[in-house]
């Protein structure tokens, strides 16, 4: 009964989304205020029904309703309650419902926040979001319905994929979706601007906070995925350039470019074409990610069960949204051209370089991801393009980009006197290079040219980002920093920290595999490990072999590490749970491999310097974004006060 209500709710949501997607847009074209006014109520109604539908699915999980096929596939009566609820997005159908729910949440937020915008524009924005909602709900309803019944239902379910029975893996999809799906908001703003035929500084000011919030969640989602892969998959890797990972990274690159391009449009009213295209690209790449994960076109451990019919449907949606918006761009782009000069050394020039390099970076990732497909489609056989390729080619745009961040931050608008710039930056640049060369030799004894280069650039960005905050806070000179500026420094500092972590963890990663019997002592990386054998432990729905490994340094016990190999009872799959000791400057990572007989086990040791900086850096980037959007100019109340103050003053003048 309840799941059927869910289906009904979904159908109603589809109807409302169709209304939301058509009537207000037509109304805006015809100038009919009553039609435009339908946008918000339609969005609200859609939201209610979508949340209801999602709620019924979660209810079905919580009540162990195995007559619902999706619940039987992804749950089990022995599954802990928390995972039962989150299993709702443990498979393709449910995760599409999550996609839809997140989109409805964003739509409501935009509807609520759009009151200060002209109705013609706001109704178009909500209209575009309505079209997107309608398309995705239709996809779920007709090809991927989570409410399908299985009669008679099985006695118990297939259990949730053990890989997903982990807190990190459970937060990762919703956070990622908030980011991914959130790119539909700047997309809607861009299309609305193209439809209206006008894109100005106000438009940029409205669009930017939405973009930053979506970008924030995307940063968080990708970081969570990477961190999860690190601690859960048992090999100590954190990024594999897998097609699905790339599909979340490309929108991130475009979104980063977008929020910087919006800065220029907001300030000077130029780069409108760039901004619109970036907004369309960011969302299109999000959809592309949805396509790659679900259409069965590429092999990936992330891929959901594939189906060409679903693939065709999503391709259709891509054609409608991306193709449609790019067609609209082709027709209307002429209106976006704007005058506004700047000199070669200026903030605009650096932000232009930023745009270009980020687009090149996204292009490089896209080309590498699609290359095997292209080569095969053209009949040249089957090749693979993996980490060894990406790790090299990605650096081509990335290293210059990060280096330029450190300079661009300190440039002024329109033109910047080069000598002033050089004078400011000389000291941190020299310091960065000196430390970049010295540190590897002090700590590690060897360094490649690339490592030194990467370390120097990372240190350079860190130092450059701290210049202004340090001047202000420590020396109390210079103008007070706005939150926007603080956010910028924080986020850029985060980029440097991230890069330090990535460089150190990749270049100085220590890996050893051992065959260990109980009592064996192993020495590696300045540590001593004592293997004390394994014992059996019981979990709620698994049995595990738990090893005990003492981590010692010069005889002193640092910690006892307990890696496990879990066997989940229902799916009978084995999962590695690595033991990690993180002390801020290095991670010691110990995982069990396989039993070698006679109580001996293969043990994997990884020592990863500075790997924590990866997560810290990403966190700082996200924090920087958060601080930036609390800047006065985005706060409604502040604006209203300004207006109230300005009016009498204008009247007096």
């Amino acid at each position: 009964m309840i799941p059927e209500l869910g289906q009904l709710a979904l159908a109603l949501a589809l109807c409302l989304a169709l209304v939301q997607g058509t009537v207000p847009i037509v109304g805006a074209a015809l100038g009919r205020a009553d039609w435009m006014a339908l946008a918000r109520p339609a969005a609200a109604g859609q939201f209610v029904f979508v949340v209801l539908a999602f709620g019924t699915l979660v209810y079905a999980f919580l009540t162990d309703d195995f007559t619902v096929w999706f619940v039987a596939e992804h749950s089990n009566s022995a599954l802990p309650v928390f995972y039962k609820a989150t299993a709702a997005w443990g498979g393709h159908e449910g995760s599409m419902l999550l996609w839809i729910t997140v989109l409805a949440v964003w739509t409501m937020a935009v509807a609520a926040g759009s009151r200060s915008q002209p109705q013609e524009f706001a109704s178009r924005v909500l209209g575009v979001l309505g079209i997107v909602s309608a398309g995705v709900i239709a996809f779920a309803f007709f090809t991927s319905n989570p409410f399908i019944r299985l009669i008679p239902g099985p006695a118990d379910g297939n259990d949730l994929n053990p890989l997903l029975q982990d807190p990190g893996m459970i937060i990762h999809p919703p956070t990622l979706y908030l980011g991914y799906v959130g790119m539909s908001v700047p997309f809607a703003f861009a299309v609305a601007a193209l439809l209206t035929g006008r894109l100005d500084k106000d438009w940029a000011r409205w669009t930017r906070p939405w973009t930053v919030v979506a970008w924030l969640f995307l940063t968080g989602g990708i970081t969570l995925g990477s961190w999860w892969a690190y601690y859960e998959l048992g090999w100590g890797g954190w990024w594999f350039w897998d097609p699905v990972e790339n599909s979340s990274f490309m929108p991130w690159l475009m979104a980063t470019a977008l929020l910087h391009s919006l800065a220029v449009t907001e300030r000077r009213g130029i780069f409108k074409s760039w901004t619109v295209l970036l907004a369309i690209a960011a969302f299109s790449l999000s959809l592309l990610g949805t396509f790659l994960t679900r259409a069965g076109v590429m092999i990936s451990v992330h891929a959901f069960a594939s189906d060409p019919t679903r693939g065709l449907f999503i391709l259709g949606l891509l054609a409608l949204f991306s193709g449609g918006s790019l067609l609209l761009y082709a027709v209307r782009a002429r209106n976006l051209e704007a005058e506004g000069g700047f000199k070669p050394v200026s903030r605009e020039a650096f932000l232009l370089a930023n745009n270009v390099l980020l687009v090149v970076a996204a292009g490089v990732v896209l080309a590498g991801t699609l290359a095997p497909l292209v080569v095969e489609a053209l009949g040249f056989g089957k090749i693979s393009v993996g980490p060894p390729y990406f790790n090299i080619v990605f650096l081509v745009p990335a290293l210059p980009l990060v280096a330029l961040i450190g300079v661009g931050m300190h440039t002024g608008w329109r033109m910047m006197p080069t000598d002033a710039l050089l004078r400011r930056l000389r000291l941190p640049a020299i310091a960065a290079v000196v430390v970049g060369i010295a540190a590897p030799f002090i700590f590690f004894d060897t360094a490649s040219v690339l490592t030194i280069l990467a370390l120097s650039i990372a240190l350079w960005v860190c130092a450059s980002s701290l210049l202004d905050p340090v001047r202000r806070l420590v020396f109390r000179t210079g103008a007070p920093m706005t939150r926007g500026q603080v956010g910028m420094c924080l986020a850029h500092f985060g980029v440097g920290v991230f890069m330090l972590g990535a460089t150190a963890a990749s270049a100085y990663n220590l890996e050893r595999d051992f065959a260990a019997r109980p009592g064996d002592r192993i020495e590696a990386g300045g540590y001593e490990l004592v293997f004390n054998g394994t014992r059996q432990v019981q979990g709620p729905n698994f049995v595990a072999d738990e090893g005990e490994v003492e981590l010692r340094r010069k005889g002193e016990l640092v910690t006892v590490m307990r890696p496990q190999i879990r066997t989940y009872q229902v799916q009978r799959s084995a999962m590695t749970e690595a033991a990690i000791d993180a002390n801020g400057i290095r991670d010691v990572f110990v995982a069990l491999g396989e039993p070698l007989g006679d109580n001996a086990w293969s043990v994997r040791l990884r020592i990863k310097p500075l790997i924590g900086f990866l997560w810290l850096g990403s966190g700082l980037m996200a924090l920087g974004g958060l601080v930036a959007i609390t800047d006065r100019r985005y706060r409604l109340a502040a604006r209203q006060t300004e207006r109230a103050v300005a009016e009498p003053a204008a009247g007096a003048a």
Binding site: R267, K343, V356, V360, V364, A367, S384, G386, E511, E523
Partner: protein, 139 residues
């Protein structure tokens, strides 16, 4: 700092030894071991969902790792090992595409994109440099 260097030296001293492939998946000689680990990261497990043989638990991955160790022990170069594997499993099994006329394009694309980007950048700078800097400042 000195302690770290000292410990690192001790570790290197312990690790330096004959290039014996031990039964447990690695080499005693640190340099050969590092080469082995880098190489197995570049070989794709032919039966897995996009994993290298370094990371896969599949039996065929373990077998291939063993072959790589054997070939290193016999003195084969990285290229010879990759050729050995691609003769049996196809180019598909190499994560770093080898340079052929087809894959040349794959490797050239990033540089081409950078060149196009550079071109767009210079053209835009030139155009904007000609335009007026004056414009009313935001309120």
């Amino acid at each position: 700092m000195k302690i770290l260097v000292l410990l690192w030296a001790v570790w290197l001293a312990l690790a330096a030894g004959a290039s014996a492939a031990n039964a447990q998946e690695g080499f005693d000689d640190a340099i050969v071991d590092a080469r082995y680990r880098a190489l197995i990261r570049e070989i794709r497990c032919p039966k897995c969902l996009n994993e290298s043989i370094a990371e896969s638990n599949a039996p065929v991955a373990a077998d291939l790792r063993r072959e790589v160790r054997r070939l290193i022990g016999e003195g084969a170069s990285d290229d010879e090992i990759k050729t050995f594997l691609s003769e049996r499993y196809g180019e598909f099994v190499l994560y770093k595409p080898r340079m052929t006329p087809t894959t040349f394009v794959v490797w050239a694309v990033p540089f081409l994109l950078l060149a196009v980007g550079g071109f767009v950048f210079w053209r835009t700078l030139a155009a904007r440099g000609q335009q007026s800097l004056d414009e009313e400042l935001p309120p």
